[in-house]
């Protein structure tokens, strides 16, 4: 009885040490206890004794737990004060040494990489050549980068849009405050809304006035960039980001009540659903046709015209919609956990 109840409650190190010293059975003195209890089968008295012993054991266990907690507390206190400094210093030194070592190795590597701006570097090979010389006739896009990411290597770009979608879903999991089943808001949501009203600017005249001028221009510029993705620099990602910046600006100036008139959670869900499924299915069609050696049957148009590049412009629009919705919903979720 002088032993503690079970070794599984002691500290791990002690347990391992004990195991080394006394073998496996030492860990299980509980079994022995139990068997010895079973062999002395005397009703009543032994039961009472057992109950007493149980109570004592439990108390002892509680105490051992409390002790352990105290021990941990002391350790924490030590860690917080002197230990933290010591460990911290060692850690800083190690991390710095590692970083310096890594930079050194990488610099050594860089010194042996192909020269910057060298026209004969290994990256200029038959792949680049085909993209540049035949890119326009094969994809119909004047902007070779757009043709490359949306036609030759479209699978990566599909993955990239999926990254955005899944990131938006993950942030929804993390930050969205759900309503109850009957649609009434929970306490947390009410608090978040009142917070938001408290900390955000209220109907600032100057801000609203300048936003009224700026937002249409920003949106227009974003749309221009998306629609000209196959003709000039830009495309779905940058254009979508610009549009979302315009929307966020509007939201900041006018608050959720006004912005909610044209952009709710449903808008987000439907828009990203439609654009992503359009994207995935369009690309699936073109992959399937390409892999099976069938003609895709999509006209490429005259290179340089706005209606050219086959699927590239619709895909850019889809990507732009996904990006702008995702970024806007990020912002809204950060501000008050929902739209």
């Amino acid at each position: 009885m002088s032993k503690r109840r079970s070794d599984w409650q002691t500290r791990p190190q002690a347990r391992i040490r004990k195991w080394f010293q006394q073998g496996f059975t030492a860990l299980d003195d509980e079994i022995i206890n139990q068997i010895s209890q079973q062999t002395i089968q005397q009703p009543e008295v032994s039961q009472m004794m057992e109950a007493q012993r149980e109570a004592m054991d439990t108390r002892r266990y509680e105490r051992s737990l409390a002790l352990e907690r105290l021990e941990r507390h002391e350790l924490q206190a030590w860690v917080r004060t002197r230990g933290r400094k010591a460990i911290g210093r060692v850690y800083v030194a190690l991390a710095l040494a590692m970083a310096v070592l890594m930079i050194f190795f990488l610099l050594e590597t860089v010194a042996h990489m192909p020269r910057f701006g060298d026209p004969n570097a290994p990256v200029t090979n038959e792949v680049t050549e085909r993209y540049i010389t035949r890119g326009v006739e094969e994809t119909g896009a004047v902007n070779i980068v757009a043709g490359m990411i949306l036609d030759y290597r479209a699978f990566d770009t599909l993955g990239e849009s999926t990254v955005l979608f899944i990131a938006a879903s993950a942030v929804l999991i993390l930050l969205r405050i759900d309503r109850r089943k009957d649609g009434t808001p929970v306490q947390e949501l009410i608090a978040a809304e009142s917070d938001d009203r408290h900390y955000e600017p209220r109907a600032d005249r100057i801000l609203q006035g300048s936003v009224m001028v700026l937002t249409p221009i920003i949106l227009l510029f974003g749309i221009y960039i998306i629609l000209n993705g196959h003709l000039s620099p830009g495309g779905g990602f940058s254009g979508g980001a610009i549009i979302s910046a315009g929307l966020i600006l509007y939201l900041d100036a006018f608050g959720f009540d006004k912005a909610g008139r044209f952009f709710t959670y449903k808008t987000f869900a439907w828009v990203s659903f439609f654009s992503l499924s359009f994207y995935a299915l369009a690309k699936a069609y073109s992959f399937y046709m390409g892999a099976n050696g069938l003609p895709s049957g999509i006209p490429l148009g005259t290179p340089g015209a706005i209606l050219s590049g086959g699927l590239i412009m619709p895909l850019n629009i889809a990507v732009g919609m996904v990006v702008s919705c995702t970024m806007y919903i990020f912002y809204a979720l950060f501000r008050k956990g929902g739209l």
Binding site: T109, F116, I132, I144, V163, L164, S232
Partner: protein, 123 residues
């Protein structure tokens, strides 16, 4: 040194990578850690983008129907970096969301303190 100077872009990229890495390891503040991650990522993108540059050539947007290799720089790294930028902004969003949640729970941004507090919740 001469070699490093010729590859200055890549040299700077590698140094930035190291700085970002150090911020990631040493800063205990979560938001600074996230900035460190972003610096690390952009450093890699700079590295990748510098690979495609060829001196004296233009951006890969076909002008006047000129489709000769000697006219344009390599379009591939640009496409890859484009993908990478979007990936890293998604990560930033998720990590910041995590930060907000952690702060709401523990009222601190220091990751070590947060870990200690989380352990203390058990006892």
């Amino acid at each position: 040194m001469q070699l490093l100077y010729e590859n200055l872009e890549q040299t700077v990229a590698v140094i930035l990578f190291g700085i970002g890495f150090t911020i990631l390891l040493l800063q205990r503040n979560l938001i600074r850690k996230i900035i460190g991650l972003n610096i690390m990522d952009t450093a890699i993108y700079l590295f990748l983008a510098s690979m495609g540059y060829i001196s004296g050539r233009k951006a890969p947007i076909v002008v006047d129907g000129v489709t000769e290799v000697s006219a344009y720089i390599n379009p591939i790294p640009a496409g890859l970096v484009l993908t990478g930028i979007v990936v890293s902004v998604s990560f930033t969003g998720i990590l910041l969301a995590l930060t907000v949640r952690l702060y709401r729970r523990y009222n601190t941004l220091d990751i070590d303190v947060i870990a200690l507090l989380a352990k203390g919740e058990d006892a």
